[in-house]
Subunit: 128 residues, 2 copies
Amino acid sequence: MPLPEGEKSSPMAAVLSFCGAWAGPDMDRVISHLGDDIVYHNMPMEELSGLAAVERYLRAAGPFEHCAWEVRAVAANGEHVLTERIDRMTVRGRTVTLPVMGTFRVRGGLIREWRDYFDLASYLAQLA
Amino acid sequence: MPLPEGEKSSPMAAVLSFCGAWAGPDMDRVISHLGDDIVYHNMPMEELSGLAAVERYLRAAGPFEHCAWEVRAVAANGEHVLTERIDRMTVRGRTVTLPVMGTFRVRGGLIREWRDYFDLASYLAQLA
């Protein structure tokens, strides 16, 4: 989705580009959207702080043979971008469809905060 | 929080007023924000359609001796209003603190769609 020139570096554009990078997934592109000071919290799990810890976690997560995030709704308010998504991922041959909402905080075009809200049992049940 | 005149009937204002009505909770005021065609989905559970079914569920839910919703972030995009909240509620003497994100769709000042995303196990564990 091409964005108008003025929107290219907006917080919403950065988050939509991040969501798009999960297609594949292209993990180098995913990581390139995150700031050094990133705080990432999958709400049912432990919070992770700093790019090194978050990158280690994301590269090990799944591992995902395939991913695609569908953005159902997105809205921005200053640095805050809120998303409603359907995250689809293939893990060890199993396809998981997970309804998720995520909050992002963007500064200087990079994601500094990321919190995802979802039902962990719904995820695990699809892997069993 | 008083809103400027032009904002009084905005989708965001309707949702913030709805979140405020949960203080108490004032269930009559909560219900008054919902349209006849409301579709309400607590994502880990079954979807409910229509005001009668949603009102029946909400009045029986908990029951909550006390509630307060803290809005951490809110953003609107047309009819869509996305919220990040900490919902606090007291159920049978137990206080539950639940991180939630919710999507609302507002038309004519009334909420027509409401989807809440949270980890059901995190809620149930605090009641046990």
